[in-house]
Subunit: 211 residues, 2 copies
Amino acid sequence: MIAALPQGTLQRLPQYLIMLKTELREGRTGVTAEDIGAVVQVSPSQVRHDLSVCGLEQEPSEAMEVQALIRLIEHAMGYDDVVTAVIVGAGQLGKALLSYQNYSDYGVEVVAAFDTDESLAGQEVGGKPILPVKRMTALCRRMKVHIGIITVPAAYAQEACDRLLEGGIQAIWNFAPVHLRVPEDVIVRNEIIAVSLGELSRALQEKRRND
Amino acid sequence: MIAALPQGTLQRLPQYLIMLKTELREGRTGVTAEDIGAVVQVSPSQVRHDLSVCGLEQEPSEAMEVQALIRLIEHAMGYDDVVTAVIVGAGQLGKALLSYQNYSDYGVEVVAAFDTDESLAGQEVGGKPILPVKRMTALCRRMKVHIGIITVPAAYAQEACDRLLEGGIQAIWNFAPVHLRVPEDVIVRNEIIAVSLGELSRALQEKRRND
DNA sequence: TAGATTGTTAATCGATTAACAATC
DNA sequence: TAGATTGTTAATCGATTAACAATC
């Protein structure tokens, strides 16, 4: 599956995946579009439409097979094509991301974290090393790392980004609250905590108003 | 500002805010819709439209005042109405979220984190305490906490959620990869790492194909 | 005045939903 | 067969973009 998925679909597929894996753990082997929709809070039409975009081939009238759906979605999301990543910044957030154990489920392999604080060098978190940042560019080049994950403070994010670009990185997952300047062929995804917090507090306020 | 903001607007406003605060730090006091759009990668029309939804009142022909825009967006996002939160699960991710220092910028106040591991109790991270989870429900009730942030492993997430609900929590920010069962008046926002990773690795694959 | 830029309305575009023929 | 459920097409809905009068 390689066609460009619509934005909405791209955000819902991982949710379906979580639901399907839960079903599988609980021993269910077949689900309907309605089952999925009920859990993920999406209309059955939407579910069928999304799966159809992924290229689902399914006998009508029969419930869909959980295993097959999982593989289908993993393929559509590109999880079966492994990309490598490094983390810049080994603070609390950097360590949390370093210690995460399920990257391989999503086709990502984190190689190491880097920090300017050399006293951290040599430490391991979740089996992954923390290294001095001055070794980062060379290591990225040598290992042809694809993704750089930036968890340094805002003031240092552009510099971290520039180093990653020198290392030949092609995509950046940025947790610092700044907009990075990059060549236009580099992909940037900003992870903005304020978006989530804002949605929650707005929803709370709306709710309060209706009580 | 209290009208329900469209989904897209809600996601872009925090990006504008980041851009505006950067401009302010660098000493600029006026920006145009075009300036904002160039940094955030959005059309000037879109920017004007979004700000108009927030209720912007502005003299045409003059650049907009950065300070005033910041206040406008903060108000529209509901950041000037403080809500309280607790974190369940003081692992790496829980600690990272506990140590985050800028919640107040987004109208959130994190009170404490809780963990079943009592040996963590008494520790502080970023000036906030870690407490035994058995004290959580009562504390939530007493302090009328609004938001529960779940960072426990998937297998314990539903239980953590149930405890929070007992404590009278009204909204949940869930980092565990499961769909929680909650009464329908409780707001749940699932934070799914796979969405971000998937978007990045898909974009990489598309790019590779075009080279 | 001419030029720049606004806020808002109307046109376009894309995404979601509903409808339905096809299948077991 | 009747009932359930599919994949896909057409209708609806909402969000983005373009156009433009208003303003300094």
